[in-house]
């Protein structure tokens, strides 16, 4: 069977819409009497709001209403965040970063709303800004929050621990340990301690944050670009104190997200704007505002790693500081995943890791493709090379000696490794032709890894099969560019034995769609896919039972062959059989399916990880020793799809993630200058363009067939993000000896590292 041909892009109607301009995004939604919103944002990193004078703004013709913190008073729970809820729907008495939303204007059009924001007078009392982790942790630093944090930690299990508000300006601390790290580090033949830093980047999704909301009576309806419709529904329900069934979310196509559109952001504020205005309101942020909404966590990671005399890894201690920015967002999860994943794809006697989230007066950090895995893999895979070089061995030899084997658990009681890490490494190396040894050229490798599929995740699905054999798949996996709906249709039609082209993916609408936990953490093909497969098999069973009743035989005696039932030598076409029995417009066999990964307190995450997502990464670079310029000549990145439903889509996911990781490694960064971002505009925040990519940039899709999803598949959406930076830094060291421990690899840092190297050599020769 050619899975590729049968699920090709040409065969899927939604894909065709994307090349004809016919695809509908939240950006395109327009409803009658629709008003428009604009937000006023704080220019200060940290200030108390003394007063807000709306009089002049409200007098502008066309202004309908304005929301400020005063309007939150009658909301039962006006805060959001994952686990811990500290972000108010709009600033109440205080702003905590330059960009914090202070007022929200609703007017007849965007121009008027914008003018009104400029007419609002806010009297601020500036407070000391805490622009770095060091400043936030300094003794006597002012508190960014004076009250204890609301909410609780996400689910955790054996070996994991947490503390909420453990120290001033520290939001959350996650600890993870197994084995006796003190003992094994003490017993180690060699112990190395190194510190690594990673920078702040933004998602830069091209479709801005955009939502349209309106109320009818006590119910609110929203067209949203959010990638987690049921999470959003639950948040709005909680914040407004209304039943979930009074909140209806429609999710059309999403114009990119990469984590930026997960969990709740400005949607509750929009619901409040629409309620106060008494009319539908569209709130489309500008890209400048997207840059001020969420970033990936900058972090500093100190790893202490011990090995025995044979070069076997024994124990690792990790101390990780994540800059969480002003509000929690998904920081709890990011701390958990960074701390948990710090061991990388290797076997250990002991791990002792602690990841803290420190609050600073900067843009909130949160979910970004591969979160935790990016930070942990960067530090871990960079240190692996540094250790190998110090030991005088080939870095790949050190890796191969210590890799987890197929089936070996990543951590005690967790699921086993569901791919062959060594085979993937061989496949990578085979695609990296040895370069002519040339001064300034070098090669580097890394194996990033993260778990995928979420913790204790669940999904439900419905598959409807009509009298013609047409298939309607209904599930909450949204199309954010990954081709989720096409994958769901492929899974359903494979289970039913129907052609791919016979399937349609139903619009996602919380009023009709069976729920899931959100399209994130690379879970859709696995978790929602299992629910869809079960629903398809249920529909198939109903069809066979119907046929058995009509033919007076057992369902087990029937085979589905094309759109007919085979009963021994007889072939019975289904459409006439169904029509003759039901008449009318026909009939649908509606199958239901679900999947739930059970909670299991014996596992570190509180449930077994559903799948594992390695990122085999290789880079070849050329470094100019005079200028410090690094040219990435070749970049190869591979991931394991278990079983590929659409090879092209898999390559696209891997390469797209790798492009983001490449840019973060080389140049992309949201920089601060004083209390405000220096480059939070579309022009000055530089993302890669076509000509910026390495001259040779390719990917490979491993199909090790061991995934937990239908037919051994598993998600790969985040894989490409987690190994690239370390591979490039490892290649730079191979090329010229410059040992980089900070991202991005600017020429200044390369020259600095070269200077440090030559002074080390001078010192050693004295």
């Amino acid at each position: 069977m050619s899975a590729v041909a049968s699920t090709s892009h040409e065969g899927f109607a939604e894909f065709r819409k994307k090349v004809t301009g016919g695809g509908v995004y939240a950006f395109d939604i327009c409803v009658d009497r629709m008003l428009h919103g604009k937000l006023l944002r704080s220019p200060h990193a940290h200030a108390r709001i003394r007063s807000i004078d709306l009089r002049a703004a409200l007098q502008i013709p066309g202004v309908v209403s304005i929301i400020t913190g005063e309007d939150l008073r009658d909301l039962p729970d006006p805060y959001y965040g994952v686990g811990l809820r500290d972000q108010p729907v709009i600033a109440m008495d205080r702003v905590r970063y330059a960009g914090d939303v202070v007022a929200a204007v609703t007017a007849v059009d965007e121009q008027t709303a914008f003018r009104a924001t400029q007419a609002i007078m806010v009297d601020y009392e500036p407070l000391p800004a805490l622009m770095s982790v060091a400043a936030a942790l300094a003794p006597g630093a002012p508190l960014i929050f004076e009250e204890p944090t609301r909410g609780g930690s996400p689910v955790l299990g054996a070996g994991s621990g947490f503390r909420i508000d453990p120290a001033p300006n520290v939001l959350y601390e996650y600890s993870f340990a197994y084995g006796d790290a003190d003992h094994w580090l003490g017993a180690a033949d060699q112990v190395f301690t190194d510190t690594f830093d990673i920078s702040r980047i933004n998602h830069y999704h091209l479709e801005p944050y955009v939502n349209v909301a309106w109320w009818s009576g006590s119910r609110v309806e929203m067209w949203s670009c959010n990638q987690d419709p049921f999470v959003l529904r639950a948040d709005i329900s909680r914040i407004f104190g209304m039943p979930v069934n009074d909140v209806r979310i429609h999710t059309p196509l999403i114009g990119g997200g990469f984590g930026g559109k997960s969990y709740c952001k400005m949607e509750p504020l929009l619901a409040l704007m629409a309620r106060k205005a008494g009319a539908p309101v569209r709130l489309a942020l500008s890209m400048d505002e997207s840059l001020l909404t969420l970033v990936k966590h900058p972090a500093s990671l100190t790893l202490t790693t011990g090995l025995d005399a044979h070069g076997r890894l024994l124990a690792r201690r990790a101390r990780i500081d994540l800059d969480g920015g002003a509000y929690c967002d998904a920081s709890t999860l990011v701390a958990i995943k960074t701390g948990f994943r710090i061991g990388g794809p290797y076997a250990w006697k002991a791990i002792d890791s602690c990841a803290r989230v420190i609050r600073t007066t900067t843009v909130p950090s949160g979910s970004f493709r591969g979160f935790g895995g990016t930070q942990a893999s960067w530090a871990s895979e960079r240190q692996m090379d540094m250790i190998a070089r110090r030991r005088g061995e080939y870095p790949l030899a050190l890796r191969r000696r210590n890799l987890l084997k197929v089936g070996q658990p990543f951590a005690p009681n967790d699921s086993g490794m569901d791919c062959d890490l060594a085979a993937g490494l061989d496949q990578l190396v085979a695609q990296m032709p040895p370069a002519a040894r040339k001064s300034g050229r070098g090669m580097g490798f890394a194996i990033g890894i993260k778990d995928a599929g979420g913790t204790g995740n669940h999904a439900q699905a419905q598959v409807r099969l009509n009298q013609r054999g047409d298939v309607m798949v209904s599930a909450a996996a949204v199309d954010i560019g990954q081709g989720g709906p096409a994958a769901m249709c492929a899974i359903a039609t494979q289970a039913l034995g129907r052609p791919f082209g016979s399937a349609t993916y139903a619009a996602v609408d919380t009023e009709h769609t069976p729920p899931d936990n959100g399209t994130h953490v690379s879970c859709a093909t696995t978790i929602t896919g299992l629910a869809v497969e079960a629903a398809a098999l249920d529909a198939r069973a109903q069809l066979l039972a119907f046929g058995a009743a009509r033919l007076g035989c057992a369902a087990a005696d029937l085979e589905l062959e094309g759109w007919s039932l085979r009963h021994g030598a007889e072939l019975h076409p289904l459409e006439p059989m169904i029509r003759s029995y039901y008449g009318g417009v026909g009939w649908e066999f509606a199958g239901r399916g679900s999947f739930k990964e059970p909670y299991n307190p014996a596992t570190p995450m509180g449930a077994r990880n559903v799948s594992w997502m390695p990122c085999w990464s290789g880079a070849e670079v050329e470094v100019d020793g005079e200028t410090g310029q690094v040219a990435v000549l070749r970049l190869v990145v591979g991931a394991d799809a278990g079983r590929a439903l659409d090879l092209g889509a898999c390559h696209g996911q891997i390469e797209g993630a790798a492009a983001q990781a490449f840019a973060q490694a080389m140049f992309e960064e949201l920089r601060y200058q004083g209390e405000s971002p220096a480059n939070a505009t579309p022009l000055t925040y530089r993302v890669p363009r076509a000509a910026d990519m390495p001259a040779a940039f390719s990917s490979f899709v491993a199909e090790h067939g061991l995934g937990a999803g239908p037919g051994g598949l598993k998600g790969i959406g985040e894989a490409g993000m987690v190994g690239i930076a370390a591979a490039i830094a490892n290649a730079i060291e191979d090329a010229c000896g410059a040992s980089l421990t900070r991202i991005p690899f600017t020429p200044e840092r390369v020259l600095e590292a070269l200077d440090a190297q030559s002074s080390n050599i001078c010192a050693a020769s004295k």
Partner: protein, 158 residues
């Protein structure tokens, strides 16, 4: 202040009045329902709103409507004939040269303009030409492949 304009949009002559501050993307989307023209950055940087004016790509968000008076504007909806895809659209579909699709219309129009100028562009030319169109999803390989496919298809058809 309103300004009368007369121009051809996707092959059809249109005469109407516009405000001096109205930009092409907003008029196409709001007046003509041509929502295939997406606005990403709204600052002429990302290229999602690219449309063709007399065959040359311009950013619809940063071009005043009065500036295209008397010209011929082509949007993604104007490519292809009678429901058939243009060679570039077909190549993007076949190569899977899109993910979220928000940049795709602009990308396809840019490539259409490139192939009008250079029927056999090499990879460096393709990548340089696409400097005005950001794709945050794909990493660009599939897009470059689609351009090659489209070039082959155009060459075979002529």
């Amino acid at each position: 202040m309103t300004i009368p304009v007369s121009l051809v949009i996707n092959g059809k002559t249109q005469a109407f009045d516009v405000g001096a501050h109205h930009v092409v993307a907003d008029v196409l989307r709001e007046r003509f329902g041509l929502t295939g023209c997406k606005v990403g950055c709204d600052q002429g940087v990302c290229g999602a709103c690219t449309v063709l004016v007399d065959g040359a790509p311009v950013t619809g968000c940063a071009t005043f409507m009065f500036a295209v008076d008397g010209r011929e504007v082509t949007t993604i909806e104007g490519l292809g004939l009678d429901g058939a895809l243009s060679p570039v659209q077909q190549a993007f579909l076949a190569a899977g040269a899109f993910q979220c699709g928000f940049c795709t219309a602009g990308m396809i129009l840019s490539v259409t303009a490139l192939l009008l100028r250079d029927r056999d562009p090499d990879e460096a030319t393709i990548r340089q030409w696409l400097a005005g169109n950001i794709c945050r999803c794909t990493g660009y390989n599939a897009i470059v492949e689609a351009v090659r496919r489209a070039a082959r298809q155009v060459a075979e058809a002529s």
